[in-house]
């Protein structure tokens, strides 16, 4: 397995707030990485740096052995599905697919053909001529998944990709990820829904307050505590123990 992604001493701050503190890790081809952490831990910032959306950071990011800062060509080989996808809402799904296809250089016709077939898998192909602003949250997210994968990328960055998607489509998507792994694709899956991460990932990276605090295989991570659930380990590592107290407080306020 070859190394496809590497972060070396990556740090980033917004104003006086240090969001990422000396992040170091590498990812091999064919791995599914579960990148987990609480809200605001630095997950999305890491992905944005890798994708070139943030470029004023310290340290280096390498993809396929090349430094990515200031480059764009490497993006032909990576796909990205964000939690909330910006799209040109006044285009139809077909127009958007064709636009994205042209940007990736795979051609309009191929993009539309592939896109329509992928839409039919998610049961939304009837909406191909509908304007995106008329789509529900789930439909938008499905289209976002499709446009993030349409060019057959070697590495797929998924940032909470399942928001708003129905249970059946979630099942399909999880199977798709397993199939892609078998095809040798690398998947970098960022989420705070631990159940999905636990089932899919080969390796867990846990980020807390801008630092990677756990980097290991799922089996390694599970053996860290007697109660072997990712959730309890997550709570333990992030120092979160008083959920019952907080729940009681909420209930009391609710009842009054």
């Amino acid at each position: 397995m070859s190394e496809v992604l590497k972060l070396e001493h990556v740090s980033k701050s917004f104003g006086s707030k240090d969001v990422l503190k000396d992040i170091n890790f590498s990812v091999n081809s064919g791995e599914i990485i579960g990148y987990i952490g609480s809200n605001g831990a630095g997950k999305t910032t890491t992905i944005k740096i890798i994708l070139g959306l943030i470029d004023d950071y310290q340290g280096d990011v390498f993809i396929f052995g090349e430094k990515v800062k200031g480059q764009s060509e490497y993006k032909k080989r990576i796909g990205y599905v964000p939690e909330v996808s910006d799209m040109y809402d006044n285009l139809t799904a077909q127009e958007y697919l064709s636009f994205i296809g042209m940007l990736y250089g795979i051609g309009e016709d191929k993009a539309v053909k592939k896109g329509k077939e992928m839409m039919s898998v998610f049961g939304i192909d009837d909406a191909i001529n509908g304007r995106i602003h008329t789509f529900s949250k789930g439909m938008r997210q499905k289209l976002s998944i499709i446009t993030g994968m349409i060019h057959n990328p070697d590495i797929l960055f998924l940032d909470e990709p399942l928001g708003g998607i129905d249970a059946n489509s979630v099942l399909v998507f999880k199977e798709v990820l397993k199939n892609l792994k078998e095809e040798g694709k690398t998947i970098f899956y960022s989420s705070h829904i631990l159940e999905v991460v636990e089932k899919l990932s080969d390796r867990i990276l846990l980020i807390n307050e801008g630092k990677i605090v756990i980097d290991g295989t799922v089996a390694d991570v599970m053996s860290m505590q007697s109660d072997s659930s990712l959730e309890s380990i997550f709570n333990y590592v992030t120092g979160f123990h008083d959920y019952q107290v907080l729940a009681k407080k909420f209930t009391d306020v609710f009842m009054n």
Partner: protein, 537 residues
């Protein structure tokens, strides 16, 4: 996807772009998509758009307003004979209108943060994205130029010859560049020192101002211009003119057609140097702009303010908690919903300008103005126009939040509407009448002070009746639907109410002590009307 003329023209420069290392194919794909999106977008300064799908028609209507302004400007240009004065008027009006339209209609392109997320995650470099942004704005400006400056070019050709065409076109290009850069620098400065919220408010203010100007500005401008003196004006040079770009643009014409004094060559050099140097500075600030634009991501916070006077008014007017809360809620919505403000304020501006225009109309032909004594009746247009505010308050850009009225099982609509109407009176109606009162005092001294008081009382008394005609759950429908026409029946009904009040006011002069009796009836009528006529039962 259609082919755009602007792209076909741009294709001629393909080699130049490629020479600078730009991926022209990608640039063209991005621009084409942007132009398609533009064609599906309704202009901010919109006329009566009936359906969302009528995008093309709506855009044409937008351009019609530009053409109207262009024709108006050309009329001037044709009249003025001095080359310097002519171009001074042209560039002044052109700078003003193009900047206003650019800010109002196209700020979203300049301040876009969406492109970054869509395009920079794909194999497209920042340089191509930035260039696409500049070209997109320039294409918009060229389109605007065709309508705003096209008629003036015809006027120039008619009064000079065909040689004006190349000079004029190059000047237009440089003016566009200057306008774009000045706007971008202003945004940069505002974002550097303040937050995105202030910039949004400034843009909203410009949009409101422009809507007012386009709606009623022409009426005033036509009446204020003295064409005979314009014809004979001559330019006199002053060294301070080096600092005024408006005055530079006549110089090339003056050199070409008349004489070649040294300051004219300086002006001509400035026309070229200033925009080009600014463009280089802009490109070097590109990254800074991108990072400052991050301030616009997210909604931002409203500036902390106590609104103590508003709270005091709410406290004095209301015994009931629901109506007090409704008053505060409506005030907060009117303060923060920019799209709604963009509808309400232009409507109110007609209320101020219509009476004034009617008074001006009586002065046509330079006759001495003699008040008839009935001018107060024009103020009743305020009440009629205020009915459009009643019509508008059911719309909002945050209309989805209105589900709480249904989901909470809320029933006390009477108090909800009472608070809402109090807020409408406090924020719009009373200031409107006060402003009209000030204008009338300027024109007529205190002659109509009593009548304005009567109008104020009458207005407050009939607000609940207007409410009965128009009010629905406030802020509960998408603002985009607000362009549908008001039902004619409702308009007739409000017209009848206003007419009755105007007639009563008129007759109160005829009956002895009539005005005092009328004031007493209105004063007594206000609490009765607000108690019994408020809708929501």
């Amino acid at each position: 996807m259609n082919e755009f003329l602007s792209l076909k023209i741009l294709d001629k420069f393909k080699r130049i772009f490629e020479g600078f290392g730009i991926d022209y194919k990608l640039l063209r794909i991005i621009l084409k998509t942007k132009l398609i999106l533009d064609s599906r977008r309704a202009p901010v300064i919109n006329t009566n758009q009936k359906k969302k799908d009528e995008e093309q028609t709506s855009l044409l209507k937008g351009y019609f307003m530009h053409l109207l302004f262009g024709a108006f400007l050309a009329f001037f240009i044709y009249f003025i004979k001095d080359e310097m004065i002519r171009m001074m008027y042209f560039s002044g009006a052109f700078f003003f209108m193009t900047t206003m339209y650019l800010i109002s209609d196209f700020s979203f392109v300049l301040l876009d943060t969406k492109d970054k997320n869509i395009l920079l995650t794909k194999p497209v470099d920042l340089r191509t994205v930035s260039l696409a942004k500049v070209l997109h704005i320039l294409i918009y400006m060229f389109r605007l130029n065709t309508f705003i400056a096209g008629p003036s070019l015809i006027a120039l050709v008619l009064s000079n010859d065909l040689f004006v065409i190349p000079i004029f076109l190059v000047e237009l290009l440089l003016m566009d560049l200057m306008i774009f850069l000045v706007t971008a620098f202003i945004y940069l400065l505002v974002l550097r020192f303040f937050d995105g919220e202030l910039l949004r408010n400034i843009i909203n203010f410009i949009q409101i101002l422009l809507t007012i100007l386009v709606t009623v500005g022409y009426q005033i401008a036509i009446r204020m211009i003295d064409f005979t003196s314009l014809r004979n004006m001559e330019y006199t040079f002053n060294s301070s003119h080096y600092l005024n770009p408006i005055l530079w643009f006549g110089a090339p014409f003056e050199i070409f057609y008349n004489r070649g004094e040294s300051y004219l060559y300086v002006f001509t050099s400035l026309i070229i140097i200033v925009p080009l140097v600014s463009f280089i500075v802009y490109l070097s600030l590109g990254k800074k702009m991108e990072s400052l634009l991050l301030k616009l991501e997210g909604e931002g916070k409203e500036r902390p303010s106590k609104h103590w006077f508003e709270n005091l008014v709410g406290f004095i007017l209301n015994r009931d908690e629901i109506s007090k809360q409704s008053f505060n809620f409506a005030n907060a919505m009117f303060r923060s919903d920019r799209s709604l403000k963009l509808k309400i304020y232009p409507a109110l501006s007609s209320g101020i300008l219509l009476p004034v225009l009617m008074i001006f109309n009586m002065r046509v032909g330079g006759q001495e103005f003699k008040p008839s004594g009935y001018e107060y009746l024009y103020l009743y247009f305020n009440l009629l126009i205020f009915s459009s505010v009643f019509y508008l308050v059911k719309y909002s850009s945050a209309w989805k939040g209105s589900y709480v009225f249904i989901s909470s099982g809320f029933k006390d609509f009477k108090n909800l509407y009472r608070g809402l109407m109090q807020s409408m009176a406090y924020r719009f109606f009373i200031p409107l009448i006060i402003l009209n009162g000030l204008i009338f005092t300027l024109i007529f001294k205190f002659r109509f002070a009593g009548d304005i008081m009567i109008l104020l009382l009458a207005g407050i008394a009939i607000l609940p009746l207007m409410g009965k005609i128009y009010l629905e759950i406030p802020f509960s429908k998408p603002i985009e639907e607000s362009n549908q026409r008001v039902s004619f029946d409702k308009f007739l009904l409000s017209l009848a109410i206003v007419a009755i009040l105007a007639i009563l006011h008129f007759y109160s002069y005829i009956i002895p002590m009539g005005r005092w009796i009328y004031v007493s009836v209105l004063t007594a009528g206000i609490p009765i009307s607000w108690k019994f006529a408020t809708p929501g039962e």
